[in-house]
């Protein structure tokens, strides 16, 4: 039995971490979910997230977040890295942009990646 998949090895989407076309996080806060655009610096394999000092809400220590880095508009160009993890405080990375940010590290618990340009049939082992 075969199925079609868009999923790829997250290592194959590493370029998204270097170019960072679009990046944001989601977390829970008192009024519900919050989507927040961020600055992402991938430094020594660590996911360092800069959130503006002016952001009205930020995730707290050890809070669960999802970090999404994605790109593309047309169907076969859509690619993404989806990282679920916990945040902890971090210092600004050396290559951080000059912007006024609070820096957090996302410690990944689960990472998935997809690329619609690689749609293919695979053996269904579920």
């Amino acid at each position: 039995m075969k199925r079609v998949t868009r999923n790829i090895d997250p290592d194959c989407a590493r370029d998204l971490l270097e170019r960072v076309p679009r990046a944001c996080i989601a977390f829970a806060c008192d009024h519900g979910p919050q989507a927040q655009p961020i600055v992402l610096v991938w430094h020594d394999g660590r996911y360092l997230v800069g959130i503006s000092q002016h952001a009205d809400r930020k995730p707290g220590p050890s809070q669960e977040v999802v970090l999404l880095i994605d790109e593309g508009v047309h169907y076969f160009d859509l690619r993404a890295l989806y990282i679920r993890g916990q945040v902890k405080q971090a210092s600004a990375p050396p290559e951080a942009p000059a912007a006024d940010c609070t820096w957090l590290e996302v410690v990944p618990l689960k990472t998935v990646a997809w690329d619609y340009g690689t749609l293919r049939e695979v053996r269904d082992e579920r």
């Binding site: 944001c24 519900g32 959130i51 994605d70 076969f76």
Partner: protein
């Protein structure tokens, strides 16, 4: 700020992929990039009933949605809407969504060029869509905005 503000509508009309943040029944966050269309008073995002986004909206209707205009560096290029959402599976709504999505993403010079360049992959796309539908109905997440704000450069880090 009212979501019918012309500057906000301009961002929504030019943005191609929205990112919708949701919470599970247990309060766990998720965020997903989805195609969407604007209909007066609502944002419609297309997905399938079994996806995390649709299941989360059924569990907790509160959502936060980011709209970012691609290749735009202006200070008013990112809009965040918070609101409440429902999952619609009615055939009339689905047909209307499909027509609007085809106009926005396929029946444009860029869309036609894209699909012509990927003709060989269309068979897999059809199989993938059919496989998804076999796991749950196509649906529209209908967001009713309650609050909207531009995120200026000082908000982006």
């Amino acid at each position: 700020m009212n979501v019918d503000d012309p500057a906000m509508l301009d961002v929504i009309r030019r943005c191609m992929v929205a990112r919708i943040a949701t919470l599970s029944r247990n309060g766990r966050p998720s965020i997903n990039p989805l195609y969407f269309v604007y209909v007066p008073g609502h944002i419609w995002l297309g997905t399938v009933e079994w996806t995390l986004a649709a299941r989360n909206v059924k569990a907790d209707p509160r959502v936060s949605v980011l709209f970012e205009v691609e290749r735009d560096r202006s200070p008013r290029r990112i809009l965040r809407i918070s609101g409440r959402a429902i999952v619609r599976t009615d055939p009339k709504g689905q047909r209307s969504y499909n027509l609007r999505v085809a106009r926005k993403y396929v029946l444009t010079p860029g869309g036609i060029r894209h699909y012509l360049a990927h003709l060989r992959q269309l068979r897999l796309r059809r199989h993938y869509a059919a496989q998804n539908v076999s796991m749950g109905q196509p649906c529209v997440i209908e967001v009713t905005p309650l609050h909207a704000e531009f995120l200026g450069d000082e908000q982006l880090g």
